[in-house]
């Protein structure tokens, strides 16, 4: 597969074969094409070559509604939901389950919305305006939206960005819970240790290529990471779990008096 924006090729010659129920972390330096890859999986943009298929069916061949029932991209693109309540936002996940002209919500839609709210522990915030939530709560709303959408594949773009460790853990746990059974999740992460904590497999992108696609303890290899990020890494084992740390600058090499 090749992912490109205009004439600029971002990622080339790679193949991600993913099993149902897997949680795949996508890591790599800024601008490498991680978000573009997610948008391609969601069927938003055509890939330059190759294709993206779910159960053998190409995502781009699906209608908007069928696509939404197959793939959920759980990422808001703004601070505002223009007066929508938390429940309204989550209920939008049911859009593809009824005709476009249908003004009413079915009982199934209501049940699914409620179940998604409960699972994301948002039931107490359901009537709050989306704008009044903290960023951690907002991330949970996007996750609940994806849950209500009830899709085979869930995509998350940096869901832990700007979150304090507690909220980040909440979101990670929720994500881990989503990826099971028939549901596969892809999550773009910047924190490599979050990837190590929750992912079944990690896809490391760098220099326009897929450098590794393996369980975290294999993919998060200092040599592979240095190749991807251009920074040296140390690998440590804490309580049997692999953690990677960028090797800090030596104090002497940090310029002072800027």
């Amino acid at each position: 597969m090749r992912i490109a924006i205009g004439a600029r090729t971002l990622l080339e010659n790679f193949d991600l074969d993913v099993l149902p129920g897997e949680l795949i972390a996508i890591v790599g330096p800024n601008g490498v094409g991680k978000s573009t890859l997610l948008r391609a999986i969601a069927g938003f943009d055509a890939v330059a070559s190759g294709d993206i298929a779910i159960d053998g069916i190409a995502v781009r061949a699906l209608s908007g509604r069928d696509r939404a029932r197959a793939v959920a991209l759980a990422t808001g693109d703004g601070e505002h939901a223009y007066g929508a309540s938390v429940r309204d936002v989550v209920a939008a996940g049911r859009f593809s389950y009824r005709a476009g002209w249908d003004w009413s919500e079915s009982d199934d839609d209501r049940r699914a919305t409620l179940a998604a709210l409960e699972r994301a522990e948002l039931d107490r915030l359901a009537d709050r305006r989306f704008e009044s939530l903290s960023s951690g709560e907002r991330q949970r709303v996007w996750l609940a939206l994806a849950l209500a959408q009830d899709a085979r594949v869930v995509l998350l773009d940096e869901p832990t960005a700007h979150l304090d460790p507690r909220y980040a853990l909440d979101v990670l746990c929720l994500m881990r819970g989503i990826a099971h059974g028939a549901t596969t999740a892809f999550v773009v992460l910047h924190d490599l240790n979050e990837a190590a904590m929750i992912a079944d497999r990690v896809a490391v992108f760098g220099n326009g290529r897929l450098l590794a696609f393996a369980p975290p303890e294999i993919a998060l290899d200092p040599e592979i990471l240095e190749n991807a990020y251009g920074v040296a890494f140390d690998r440590v084992v804490v309580d049997g779990a692999v953690r990677v740390l960028p090797r800090g600058y030596r104090a002497a090499s940090i310029p002072t008096g800027i």
Binding site: F44, R67, D77, H80, D88, A92
Partner: protein
Amino acid sequence: MIARWSALVALVACACTIGLFVGGSALAPAEVLRALFHPHATTDAATIVWTLRVPRVLGAAFVGAALAMSGVLLQGLLRNPLVDPFLTGVSAGAGAAIAIAVAVGAAAPLIPGIGFAAGLATALFVAFLARRRGGLDVERLILAGVSLSALFGAIVTLVLVRLGRGSGDAVLAWLAGSLANRGYAELVTTLPYAVVGLICAALAVPSLNAMRLGTTVARAVGVDVVRTQWLVLAAATLLAAAAVALAGVVGFVGLIVPHVARRLAGTDARASLSASALLGAALVPLADAVARSIAQPTEVPLGVVLAFVGVPTFLYLYTKSADGARLWGT
């Protein structure tokens, strides 16, 4: 919730009733009532009520509902609370065409049709300028609408200056908005366009709700964003053009009513569209009743009354509430 909707429906009924009892010719309330219950009577009162006041009140309610819905649809689509139905150049295009038509001496009955056609054509041209990759670019739409409106405004000014007093008055009256002498015929010819607009709007409402969350989320949940944009634009334009053809440029309704409607009913497109239609259908008959009665025997332009009533109400609403900066209500 049901109480709120009943109150809105009652408000429309009250406003329309008040409209029936007010007018240029002094009729006692009892006479109006008798005429209402005896539509085929041959009294002067029956003629006045059924051929002048009823169509006029219906026209006012129609114009109010159409403009308010047009405004709430465009504000929702563009996610911009400062947008009004005339943003797409509907009124400016119609105004320029009508000014030119009057200048070259077109027959009066042709004027509404010319306005309607020119309004639609202008909106189409604005949409064409705002096209990007099949969809509509919100910023381009606003820029194209505002700049074309300015150009057409200049044409109107030029024609008015050249025409001078007399023939220029016809153009001015039209620009200020008025429901004077509008009968069933005018109502019946403009209604079908508004109905088509309303159908487009109804089809777009569920998608418009999802579009509140931004285009990325809307696409992700299965909304055809491009189709929704065209549907809403078509709906808003048809509704506004129908209102303009019937009553000229009636300002402020399309800007202000949606704000009040969202405060009352929330930003869910189903609720805000319905509440806007009802509020508009109450506000314009009321304003028209004031326009007819405040300076008898002459009429004050409807647009002027609406500005005097609407703007202070609007400012009051926003300065009174602690969260005045929140233009999206609730």
